[in-house]
Every structure is written in structure tokens, then in C-alpha cells.
């Protein structure tokens, strides 16, 4: 997927700067929920601290349906439903499976490679969620205005945008930028193809044939 538009605005100078990323759909609307990662390119060595994440299963759906975690993090997969689930991933980033269970019988799963992990349930085909395992020191998701911001030092960076409904899953939106002589940098990334339709959310769970 190609980068269609990007803009960098700079004003003033400071040691720490604010980077604002705006994500836009093909028709210019705000793109909510996009994953933004920012990696330094000028020799800075930074890593986000691993965390302990939780992806629950509620009403035959993963909650949340997307979680960003730093490399080295662990994630628990409790099942809060009254039905059993059987979680799997065959993504190259992390292959694992949790045999049929309810409650919280299994220890957290460790994620030590960067990449996207697609989660599914071997019982309920419509359950789908993503873990984004990142080695970037700065990361987050765009809000309802399509914006995400962070504080970071002056330097040269690569900004990557990803969304689970991109037409081509492995084609990230990437852009390099230099934050210098500025205390505020702003970048707008626009998709070149429309997103795939969102999952249907109001379908009764008993419809499974």
C-alpha cells in the first residue's frame, strides 16, 4: 500500500517534541483505531517496557479485539463466557494454542517476536482478534478524530501505520521524518485503498451454522 499524503509541520525548538499523527481514510475521514508505531533511526536505543496484557473472551468475542504489546510482554486469555473456547494462532510471529477451557486455567503466553498475531477460536469461527507485538519505543492507536500523539526527543524516526482491515495486511503505511528545531511535529497518513468492511457486531451468537 502506498503512502498517499504526508505533511510535516514544524515550529519553534525544544529538546522534547510532540509528535502528532493523523490517520485518514481514502475519502479523508478520520481513521479510528489505527495502530501507530514510531522507531528511532538515528542510533537511539530505546525499548518499551514489557507489560502483562489481558485479552478476555466475553459474549463469544475477544475483548479487546486488538492489543498492542512491546516485545517480551505476556498476555493472559481468560474465558469469561459460559461456553468453552479454544484459542489458537498460526501466525508466524507466535504459534500457540490453548485447549478447550473456561475461566483462567492457563498461564500467560509470552510474546518474544515483533509482528502481528491473529487470534481465533477453534470452536467459534467468528471470533477474531489481533495482538500487535512491537519493538517500537512509542506506539498507540488513533482516537475518534484519527489522531495519536506522543512526546519524544528530537531525532530521525520511522512512523508506521497499520490497521486490521487494511486491504493488504502486510503492507504497512510507513513514513520517515525528522523532528528537529521544533517542539511539535505533525504527520498525516492517508490510506490509498478503502478499508475492508468492519465485522458485523449485532448478529446473535446462537447463529453459528
Amino acid at each position: 500500500m502506498l503512502l498517499c499524503a504526508g505533511q510535516l509541520a514544524a515550529a519553534g525548538a525544544a529538546v522534547a517534541a510532540t509528535l502528532v499523527i493523523n490517520a485518514r481514510t481514502t475519502d479523508g475521514h478520520a481513521l479510528q483505531g489505527a495502530v501507530v508505531t514510531v522507531r528511532p533511526l538515528d542510533g537511539q536505543v530505546r525499548h518499551a517496557a514489557p507489560l502483562r496484557g489481558v485479552v478476555d473472551q466475553i459474549n463469544r468475542a475477544f475483548a479487546p479485539d486488538l492489543l498492542i504489546i512491546p516485545v517480551g510482554s505476556t498476555v493472559e486469555f481468560p474465558n469469561s463466557d459460559f461456553v468453552s473456547h479454544q484459542i489458537y494462532s498460526f501466525s508466524p510471529t507466535k504459534r500457540f494454542q490453548l485447549p478447550l477451557y473456561r475461566g483462567k486455567p492457563y498461564p500467560p503466553v509470552h510474546f518474544d517476536q515483533p509482528g502481528v498475531v491473529t487470534l481465533g477460536c477453534n470452536i467459534h469461527d467468528d471470533m477474531l482478534a489481533y495482538l500487535v507485538v512491537t519493538d517500537a519505543p512509542w506506539y498507540g492507536r488513533t482516537d475518534s478524530a484519527g489522531a495519536w500523539s506522543t512526546e519524544l526527543p528530537r531525532g530521525h524516526y520511522r512512523v508506521t501505520l497499520w490497521h486490521p482491515r487494511l486491504r493488504e495486511n502486510d503492507a504497512d503505511l510507513e513514513r520517515e521524518l525528522t523532528v528537529a528545531e521544533s517542539d511539535r511535529a505533525e504527520l498525516t497518513l492517508t490510506l490509498s485503498k478503502p478499508l475492508q468492511p468492519a465485522p458485523l457486531t449485532d448478529r446473535p451468537h446462537s447463529w453459528d451454522y
Binding site: F82, S84, F90, L100, R167, N169, L200, W207, Y209
Partner: protein
């Protein structure tokens, strides 16, 4: 000359070898389960009561040629279905499924199993997933019967196509499915191929031959009987029979686009030897094959559209034409449109169907169409109310032949259904 079909005399209830094997395997697996702590049992029970108003002829279960489930003499309070279903995990990748129902007391046993099978479900690997079913179950054709118990969440009465499947088509054997899970690896599509090999469906087609299509939600239990003993034209037909030692096969393809579109095609052939009709004095043998196709599209704001098509032929030996074969080509299609808003679902469906008669002097010929409108209100997870209006206009050769009535008839059935469900996952 009218080619009358044989009527199967009463035979003692036979629990098939397969059913015994399944029950034994199920019980053994339960006892031998090594990892019972993590094993899972899901169960469901429901009671569906109906208030019916109908002007239809008696149905196929009553010994008539009515095209809906309830005839006029059954207007009033009826049992729609009492159901108990159990899913039991057997270790990590096996599970057993039992679906028992009581629809009425007109079969050889008031309670029967509509489906009973073992499912082998290994984890997907490298984007592919394999599944194997063994037992008795529906082949993957219907796109409206997607709720538990093979019920339709849109209407009470199934389409003519899916009613026919409910009455006399079931896989009693093995089915393997290989899916490519594109939606789990960055693509928009999943693709699956299915193959089945089965027995005990040598009688599939006997109801089409004698009664034609109908719109019902009565599912014949595995190894159950259709019609009433001694009542023409159907008698006590048994669709789930095997006495020619020839297995049936089917193969199908399913393509899914995200969670919005499902496309299914399937070719089915029970490969029965129709001539065996002549050497058995009890049972029918129908060679039945068909092609089916269907598409279901779901869109935002609760819209669903479904279309299915079925085209096939059933052949059997005529009783009064020694060595001769008669054939009944059949075809049916329907389109359904549904809108879900909140806890309500409003649906409309148009059905069209025809059964031709070749080599039987017109016996069994039927054609017709039907309109169905239904309103479903899910009060909560337990209670559901459904109001359905169904009108079938059909022309039947046998209606005049057997009952002296005009071939063309309009039948209307209105049902109010109240269903209460409970179970391990229904909260």
C-alpha cells in the same frame, strides 16, 4: 394408469448399528476421558409451543398431501418442538454432539435424534484447517438453518428446499472439510472444500416422489418414519435405509467473504440401486442426485439476503412396471430478505418448486410457489415469540388422484410460537 407406490408395512423399531456404535463410543469416551478437568459440556433445552390456524389439507405426517406442517384439523395448540442438545468435548480436539427432539407422536418413537455425531477438530496449521464429522448430520447445504437445532432464525417454516432436507436427507457417515483460512492470514476470503460418504439414505426421495415439496419445520429423526402406516400415498416411508450396499457421496465448495457473504455449492448422489425396490417387499430404494447452490449476504444495519437453488432427480422402480424405472426430476428455489432491528427480526421469503413425473403416468407431479412472512421477537436469552404467515399455492396430480379434490389448491397457515430455552450457555 396410476403407478402406486408400495406402502411399507409396519416393522419393529430398529436402532441402527451406527446409533449403537455412537452411543457406545460416547459413553466410553465420557468414562475414559483423561482430562476431565478441562473437558467441557454444553447443553441446551427448549420448548416451543404453537397456536395454529390453518386451512390446509392434512400434512404428509397425517397421511395427506398438505404442503404445510399443520392441516386444518390441527388448528389450535400444538407442540412445535421439544429439544435437548448436548455437546461434550472428548479430550482436546474431539467432541460429541447429540440433538434430540420431540415434534409430535406420529413417528415410530416420540423422541428421536435429528443429529448425532462425533467431530474431530484439530487446530488450524499454516492457514489450513481440517474437520471430520462422523455420525448422522445435515450435509452443508442450507443457508437459513443456521441456529442451533438446525432451526432458522428468520422463519418458523423452512423453505421448500430445506424442508425437504429436514424430512428425508441426512448424512449418515463421514464428512471431511478442508478450509483455507484466508481471513486469519491477512486476506478477505476463506475457501473450504467438503466431501462426504454416507449410507442409510437410500430412501431419500420417497417423500418427493409421493407428496412433493412442502414447507415445514418438522425434522425427521435419524432412522425415523414419514407418514402414517397404511395411509396413501406415503405410507410409513423410511428415508434412512440401507440395503443395497452402495455408499452415497457428495462434494461441495464454500467461499466466504469476511463474515458477510457465504457461497455454497454441492453435488449429492446417494448412488442407490433403484431396482432393489423389486426385490424387497418392505422398503423403497430411490436413486437421488442433485446439485445445490446458495448465497447468503449480510450487510450493515441487520440486513440479510439469502437465495438457494436445488435441481435434481429421483428414480425408482415402479411397482406395476416390472423392471421399469420411473423418474421424478425436481427443482426448487427461494429468495429471503430479512431485517433485524434490536430484538426483532422481520423476514419475507418467496419459494418456487416443481416435481415432474416421467414414466409414471403423471404420478407425483407437483408444482407451486409459496410466500412466507415472519416476525421474531427475542424477549431475552430465554424467551422468543414468533408470528408467521405462510401461504402455499400448489398443483398436485396426486391430490386429485387420491382425494378427488381439484389439483390446484391454496393453503394458508398462521402460527404464533412461544419458545423457552435454557442451557449452560443461555444466560
Amino acid at each position: 394408469m396410476v403407478c402406486l407406490r408400495k406402502v411399507a408395512p409396519h416393522s419393529a423399531p430398529r436402532l441402527s448399528t451406527l446409533a449403537f456404535a455412537f452411543a457406545f463410543a460416547f459413553a466410553f469416551a465420557l468414562l475414559a476421558l483423561p482430562d476431565i478437568g478441562r473437558a467441557s459440556t454444553d447443553w441446551e433445552a427448549s420448548l416451543d409451543g404453537r397456536l395454529v390456524s390453518s386451512d390446509a389439507n392434512p400434512s404428509f405426517m397425517q397421511g395427506g398431501l398438505g404442503t404445510v406442517r399443520y392441516g386444518s384439523d390441527e388448528s389450535g395448540v400444538q407442540l412445535g418442538r421439544a429439544r435437548f442438545a448436548l455437546t461434550q468435548s472428548l479430550g482436546e480436539v474431539w467432541s460429541a454432539h447429540l440433538d434430540a427432539s420431540m415434534f409430535d407422536d406420529k413417528d415410530r418413537s416420540p423422541v428421536g435424534l435429528t443429529e448425532a455425531y462425533l467431530l474431530f477438530r484439530p487446530y488450524p496449521r499454516a492457514g489450513y484447517r481440517f474437520r471430520l464429522k462422523a455420525g448422522g448430520f445435515y450435509p452443508p447445504i442450507s443457508l437459513e438453518n443456521r441456529a442451533s437445532g438446525w432451526e432458522s432464525p428468520y422463519t418458523l417454516s423452512y423453505s421448500a428446499i430445506d424442508s425437504w432436507l429436514a424430512v428425508e436427507v441426512r448424512t449418515v457417515g463421514l464428512e471431511g472439510t478442508l478450509d483455507w483460512l484466508g481471513t486469519r492470514s491477512g486476506h478477505g476470503f476463506d475457501v473450504g472444500v467438503t466431501g462426504g460418504v454416507f449410507g442409510w439414505n437410500q430412501g431419500a426421495g420417497v417423500v418427493l416422489t409421493n407428496n412433493g415439496f412442502s414447507l415445514t419445520d418438522r425434522q425427521t429423526p435419524l432412522f425415523g418414519r414419514v407418514g402414517q402406516l397404511g395411509d396413501q400415498p406415503l405410507g410409513g416411508a423410511e428415508p434412512f435405509l440401507q440395503f443395497d450396499h452402495r455408499e452415497g457421496v457428495y462434494g461441495g465448495l464454500e467461499v466466504r467473504y469476511l463474515d458477510r457473504v457465504v457461497l455454497r455449492v454441492l453435488h449429492y448422489d446417494n448412488r442407490a440401486n433403484p431396482q432393489l425396490d423389486e426385490v424387497s417387499d418392505q422398503n423403497y430404494s430411490q436413486h437421488t442426485s442433485f446439485n445445490s447452490a446458495g448465497v447468503r449476504i449480510e450487510a450493515d444495519h441487520g440486513w440479510t439476503a439469502i437465495a438457494q437453488w436445488l435441481d435434481g432427480e429421483t428414480t425408482t422402480a415402479a411397482d406395476d412396471v416390472p423392471g421399469g424405472l420411473s423418474s421424478w426430476p425436481f427443482r426448487a428455489e427461494y429468495a429471503l430478505l430479512s431485517k433485524r432491528f434490536g430484538r426483532s427480526t422481520l423476514s419475507a421469503r418467496y419459494d418456487r418448486f416443481v416435481v415432474d413425473s416421467i414414466g409414471a403416468d403423471g404420478y407425483g407431479a407437483q408444482s407451486g410457489h409459496a410466500w412466507t412472512a415472519a416476525y421474531v421477537f427475542n424477549v431475552d436469552a430465554h424467551w422468543r415469540f414468533t408470528l408467521e404467515w405462510l401461504q402455499v399455492v400448489s398443483s398436485s396430480f396426486s391430490r386429485e388422484e387420491f382425494f378427488g379434490g381439484p389439483p390446484l389448491l391454496t393453503e394458508t397457515q398462521v402460527q404464533l410460537a412461544i419458545r423457552y430455552a435454557l442451557g449452560s450457555a443461555i444466560r
